[in-house]
Subunit: 656 residues, 2 copies
Amino acid sequence: MKDIQITQETRMANAIRALAMDAVEAAKSGHPGMPMGMADVATVLFNRFISIDPAAPKWADRDRFVLSAGHGSMLIYAINHLLGYADMGMDQIRSFRQLGSRTAGHPEYGHADGIEVTTGPLGQGIATAVGMALAERMKNARYGDDIVDHFTYVIAGDGCLMEGISHEAIDMAGHLGLGRMIVLWDDNKITIDGSTDLSTATDQMARFAAAGWHVLACDGHTATGIADAIEAARQDPRPSLIACRTVIGFGAPNKQGGHDVHGAPLGAEEIAAARKALDWPHAPFEIPSDLYAAWGRVAERGAAARAAWEDRLAAHPARAEFLAAEAGDTRALPRAMAAYKAKLIADKPKVATRKASEMALEVVNGAVPSTVGGSADLTGSNLTRSKAMKSVQANDFSGNYIHYGIREHGMAAAMNGLALHGGFKPYGGTFLAFADYARPSIRLAALMGVPVTYVMTHDSIGLGEDGPTHQPVEHLASLRAIPNLRVFRPADAVETAEAWEVAMAATDGPVMLVLSRQNLPVVRDSADENQTARGAYLLREPEKRDVTLIATGSEVEIALAAADLLAAEGIKAAVVSAPCFEAFATQPRAYVERILGTAPRIGVEAALRMGWDLFLGPADGFVGMTGFGASAPAPQLYEHFNITPQAIVDEAKSLI
Amino acid sequence: MKDIQITQETRMANAIRALAMDAVEAAKSGHPGMPMGMADVATVLFNRFISIDPAAPKWADRDRFVLSAGHGSMLIYAINHLLGYADMGMDQIRSFRQLGSRTAGHPEYGHADGIEVTTGPLGQGIATAVGMALAERMKNARYGDDIVDHFTYVIAGDGCLMEGISHEAIDMAGHLGLGRMIVLWDDNKITIDGSTDLSTATDQMARFAAAGWHVLACDGHTATGIADAIEAARQDPRPSLIACRTVIGFGAPNKQGGHDVHGAPLGAEEIAAARKALDWPHAPFEIPSDLYAAWGRVAERGAAARAAWEDRLAAHPARAEFLAAEAGDTRALPRAMAAYKAKLIADKPKVATRKASEMALEVVNGAVPSTVGGSADLTGSNLTRSKAMKSVQANDFSGNYIHYGIREHGMAAAMNGLALHGGFKPYGGTFLAFADYARPSIRLAALMGVPVTYVMTHDSIGLGEDGPTHQPVEHLASLRAIPNLRVFRPADAVETAEAWEVAMAATDGPVMLVLSRQNLPVVRDSADENQTARGAYLLREPEKRDVTLIATGSEVEIALAAADLLAAEGIKAAVVSAPCFEAFATQPRAYVERILGTAPRIGVEAALRMGWDLFLGPADGFVGMTGFGASAPAPQLYEHFNITPQAIVDEAKSLI
């Protein structure tokens, strides 16, 4: 720090530096450069501004801190240790990057308190923070300053700002005017390959300004400069970017400022030199008690703020409503859904499942006030907006529908942020083919276990004329491959409603609804039990089976037609609807055996066979796609690619 | 057009409008808004500037035209029809979006001449164009202005500029100073959901300027303004953005300017009104001969330019070298590779396959001068740079190594552009987990059949401490799911070299090399035949098999160790190395049966089982992952997740 030689804040920052370099050294791997470079910025941020209570890490109105540059994980581990988080003892710092520790190579949500989001894949943190900052404003609009009034701080590196998702994020934040979002950019001019000059010439401050942000700069090693910048950012009604000019690996005298310090241990010699340079005479993993006390005062300030907030909440007229939303209350849903499904069984509407989803959303959104809908600019196609929904607009956050723009990736990350922030159940739509654009954020939702719902429509060649760029063929397989993501492909309006029930009940991971563009008949006679939740079930069960047809979504209708054709020829076909492979995989063995039977099987899905080994052996049949689609009206495509009742009949005859 | 009531250029543009609205009407689906809105801009661009020869659509020095807003496909179909492309007769316009036509819903590369790239997934066109413009400058640096001197023009919409990939693209283009790239932005203030005000407030001109671009604006319906802007853009040494202020659906008097005109037929009534408004009295699909003649003069100008270019090429000292690169010449490779592989067999180096890839690249890049390497800021980790390579720098294009920055998506798209442009064989690296970021461009490479090579390192839990965010578990399955993408996961240095041979020989689709961080022993005794190219082959074949172990990449070593353990217990295990599932799937049945045998099988891969049904039935075994990874040293993770020789032994005993 240039303005004062060794202030207490400098020593607080050096505690971060020492823990970072010692933990990386002990682990023999990790990234000391960022924690050491940003230690002063982070110290000023926490020491003077951030309001959190380590004793109540989930306090709803805490400031959110997002380490978007997740490789610098030792920064947050060190800070959380110094702040006194109960689960971040020195044993955790010592076991950085070791099996079973809470201190993974990159910060993992759920592994330790005070980690608001899993980061590491670059750009995800800043984009998730947009959702958090949006959630704060939306809750503020509902409940007022008394109980919702906090900031979302992000530390981001050059990588975060080079990734495309950062564009979607900052465009969205600037448009919406998320003034409570403050990004501290570690402007160290270094990437892994070397100087940033190797790969970028963007004027980041001008870029953020173009997106409607308030931008300012500071020396990242000057406490007063850092503090003044943060204070100015807090006052400005726009989201703020603070370019913090830093030296990567600050304190390591021979290595700082170079790219070698980014992602490798400093080595014993350089660590010794750094201890000298930083005037840090303490042994590895040893922190002087006065520094614990200093960091402890940050926690005390937060605890006091939380206590005052608890009092305000207790007196707040909307207390019950607030807590219900925080708890993800869906108690009103079952009854409303039961009535809706009974009506479906009575009316048997032949609608596209995207339309069925819209119908279900009228019920869901009516019963669950914490839902937040949206679409990546395909509202009229995804049918994600129920009638009573109101658009969230720039500087008007009273609505509950987000126009995410043509930003699938930013949408998925913001949905993560909305859910992680708490108080909201986000869902968002695009075409299934464009799940690819959002995939890194979908993966993080699954890894974190965040309950968000994707509404992915136009789910096969059934979308017709838009052609192969828009026709998913490998997407079902690739999405079913993501652990902890449940993919539902409902066959009709009843299954769609049931899938929405599962999505609303989910607490530990994302749910994806994969929906048709084309109309589909109701195939169910009863909705008394949520069959969809079991993953697969029998729609038609002859006394003795010659063949079992297993289909999903829009192909269930085709399988049923095939069963009729087969019946006319005296061949008895069972028909299984299989809306969710992941759910079926968790069913008891007896159930699985009853559903699948012992007859030869044919899978039917307008997609590739990959993933169907859950149902099919090598001797079984499959009617589906083998490559990319084509541009033509949908009925012609089904004929062209031979996904027809007759094709199933032919396959059945060849098998039995 | 405002400056002149009905000039010939206006009528040329109206021909586009008429064909667009009539074709969409006939197809009963499609997007008339963009072609009608951008018809004037496109007409001025082609009429006054673009140099192409429809009779020689692959002429190397043609200007490239990229319709990034691919939903406006009728714009390019109409233009190519009017220009006289032989394969774009009126029958094609009439059969827009019909089965078997060349006029797919979105422009598909390879379906018709004059379509430089498949577009439709938004942002891909502009990002691919960066690669094309880069290729042009790199070839210009090699061969000079005489034979390489053209522009890359892009028409992009709001969607293209909102997608994150656009940030990666424009940052890269601005940094490199790709002055021959000119983006014509259809600034119509409309997206599908409605006004752009719903979702964005970005000042695009300021944003592009921040990325180092030359920016200017024009009225998109005023010919002189359009022409002046394009001329200024051509003169400026920076890449240029021209904001073309347009009215979406221009000419449809009651619908223009609104979002309903974006993606639906106008209807008979509105089309009649448009005919009147545009003073276009001609029948549907009827173009007056003077307009064919006018458009034909554009083609004639291009033909003359090409003829002059052919003369210059004939006299060019580097003619043979130029043509060899254009043809993708790899003739020097087999001999060099044979020597290198013989040395590998002799030396048996125990290296990570990423290191083996670097070693192979010394040979590949030495023998194939048209390779262009690069990495998304992980050069030292991906090991993508051979010693003699030289970095491409801003305004110095004599190198052959690209620092793509932290931009996996932009890299993959630029690689598509380099390959599509011709004359280069691009490869680029990142971590396998971040293939997700690049996935939409990888899919397009596969859909287009573009030969590019992805170098994806750190391919499993074997990367160790970086933890689950960086550890691919579902990626192999999700990438193998992409049709026409060949995924190679080599087991040692020999297989890595063989995979590079396949990659260099590829002409019809992308190849992905999936490489280990950790060291692996050479498992091959001979490199006389490229066994890797067969997809799977026997490494160890006992006379009679009790079990067949099938493994890929780093798990082949483990399978071999398991076979040793089993042999010690008298159990005979065959070991199959299966570096490429897609290649194995195309082998003759007799070969497949010989490799797989009839004994029980066990798949071994540090990834999810999905996709293994190519080799395994329900009764077979699998030793691999069942969910996300963890952060710890790699050897501990293999133990923790039970991917060990002993686990294979246990599985084998339970099966036989």
